[in-house]
């Protein structure tokens, strides 16, 4: 049912864990559907004056509660997004993740690849935090 790439990422996921001083955090999914994913992003310090879209994702980590495809696809997304600018990373589609994994059963592409949505959510949360005025000290 699963490709050898899926099984390898499931067994030894890449970039699994948390970034305590993450710049951006995004969580999607819910307990009813069974899959919950959380992504932590750290942007490069070198390009902090650039626009959000141009900033490079220097580090990315994930936490996932879910099936084999959910774990493997989050792991794969972190590989694909790491080192890319935010604009480039946001272009990664569910299909890109599935293809990089050597394919996934159709039903899994829709229900298990929440990672792209978690990435969008993290970026959205971050830009929302930029727009908010800093609290007065």
């Amino acid at each position: 049912m699963y490709s050898s790439i899926v099984l390898e990422h499931f067994k030894n996921p890449h970039n699994q864990g948390v970034i305590l001083d993450a710049d951006a955090v995004g969580q999607v999914g819910n307990p009813v559907c069974g899959d919950i994913m959380k992504l932590y992003l750290k942007f490069s310090e070198a390009d902090k004056d650039k626009s959000l879209e141009e900033r490079v994702i220097e580090d990315i980590k994930f936490e996932t509660l879910g099936c084999g495809a959910a774990i493997a696809s989050t792991s794969m997304l972190t590989d694909l997004a790491k080192g890319k600018t935010v604009a480039e990373a946001l272009k990664i589609t569910k299909q890109n993740v599935a293809d990089a994994l050597g394919g996934l059963p159709a039903v899994k592409i829709h229900c298990s690849i929440l990672a792209t949505e978690a990435l969008e959510k993290a970026v959205k949360n971050y830009s929302a935090s930029l727009e908010r005025p800093s609290p007065a000290v």
């Binding site: 996921p13 996932t64 099936c67």
Partner: protein
């Protein structure tokens, strides 16, 4: 690499003695059992012997045994056969089943519902057991069939078949003696005809055959389905017991095979295998399986935190353990255990090919989270204590790994 099979409710291996008795009927005694020549008659003799073994096992006559392609077909034949024989298009008829039946029964009932048959789905208790009074409450004047599984395939809970059988008998005797003028629905149908007098009682007994009382008379059932591949027999063969006098219309048309109730050339080798498999049931060591299952549950509780039992502990077959491991997802556990050489199953949506978790676990009131984290372990007599120890150790590691991996 370990090679541990804990999924005996999905299927069992074919017993070597069963295989052995089947083999001559492929290449040597290959005649069509319906043929009059000696090739055919030799095959027929084997079929008759197999049928007699099944009849002996169920405590019925040989002409009450119909061989089918499996329990799914047997369930379809039982339910559709009774409905079709009762002029269902003109009369509003009613059948009762449960929410947590196997799809072979549930989907057949849903299909009939679309054809205009009224269906009541009785909910089990949180212990996974149907209450007889909940069945009784649903019985109406136009009820013609009750179908309740003997043992639930996911949680192993044993249903009160004998008690429901007694209830059906009681209702049927009341119907016979009752004055038709007291019943509006019978009167409006302008006939106190036979078809509305009797309720037939069907049970899908696939998961019960190895462990429970199977005498159809004692149980009071009119129809009972069993399967070969759950009792160390071959896949592709099942049996439907049809009590003499049951009005049943065949659903597969063709020749006059199987007392004109199921057309199709007799599958001699599989029938012979089925006969041997039921014969061997008497020799099985249930105590060993029960000891291992009890030990497994004890060790799981000792070693893994937040693990809970699904379904009654008392009213359960000795092979089955169904638990929810909180904070993890069942399919991930299944895959991880498979990589460690252990085969189990799960009620998680992620393994079902649909987006819904097990309808059985939902019917007994589990939360989505608990259903997603469910594991079914079904033991066979080949399993050992060492295998249980290895399994518990692997599951402990995986549960810790996945809990650590999950968002807090």
């Amino acid at each position: 690499m370990q090679n541990i099979y804990f999924d005996n409710a999905a299927t069992t291996p074919v017993n070597k003695n069963v295989l052995e008795v089947m083999l001559p009927y492929f290449c040597e005694i290959y005649g069509n059992a319906s043929s009059l020549h000696s090739f055919g008659q030799e095959a027929l003799k084997a079929v008759d012997e197999a049928r007699a073994k099944v009849a002996n096992f169920l405590g019925c006559e040989t002409n009450e045994i119909i061989f089918t392609s499996g329990a799914t077909e047997a369930d379809n034949l039982a339910i559709m056969g009774v409905v079709f024989a009762n002029n269902y298009l003109e009369k509003k008829i009613h059948i009762i089943t449960t929410e947590f039946e196997h799809p072979a029964v549930l989907e057949t009932c849903k299909y009939l519902e679309k054809q205009g048959v009224e269906v009541s789905y009785v909910k089990p208790g949180s212990d996974g057991v149907i209450k007889v009074e909940d069945i009784e409450k649903e019985i109406k004047d136009n009820t013609i069939l009750i179908s309740v599984m003997y043992v639930n395939n996911e949680i192993g809970t044993i249903q009160p078949i004998k008690e429901i059988g007694q209830l059906v008998k009681k209702i049927n005797s009341e119907r016979i003696t009752r004055d038709p003028s007291t019943s509006s629905s019978l009167r409006s149908d302008s006939a106190r005809d036979d078809t509305l007098r009797q309720i037939y009682f069907h049970t899908d007994a696939v998961q019960a055959a190895l462990y429970c009382e199977m005498n159809v008379e004692n149980l009071g059932v009119d129809l009972m389905a069993i399967s070969g591949h759950k009792i160390y027999g071959p896949k592709g063969i099942g049996v439907l017991y049809i009590k003499k006098g049951t009005r049943l219309q065949k659903i597969q048309h063709g020749g006059h095979h199987e007392f004109n109730k199921r057309a199709g050339t007799l599958n001699t080798p599989l029938m012979v295998g089925m006969g041997k498999a039921v014969e061997l049931i008497q020799t099985r060591d249930l105590n060993k399986i029960k000891f291992l299952r009890d030990y497994l549950w004890q060790e799981l509780q000792k070693n893994i935190v937040d693990v809970s039992l699904n379904g009654s502990w008392e009213d359960r077959t000795p092979t089955n353990l169904n638990v929810s491991v909180q904070g993890v997802e069942g399919e991930a556990l299944l895959l991880g255990l498979d990589m460690a050489g252990i085969a189990i199953s799960t009620g998680s949506a992620c393994s079902s090919g649909s987006l819904e978790p097990s309808h059985v676990l939902m019917s007994i009131g589990l939360s989505h989270e608990a259903a997603h984290g469910s594991l079914r372990i079904t033991l066979g007599e080949e399993n050992t204590k060492e295998e249980i120890d290895y399994f518990v150790q692997q599951l402990k590691q995986l549960a810790e790994k996945f809990r650590q991996m999950a968002p807090k």
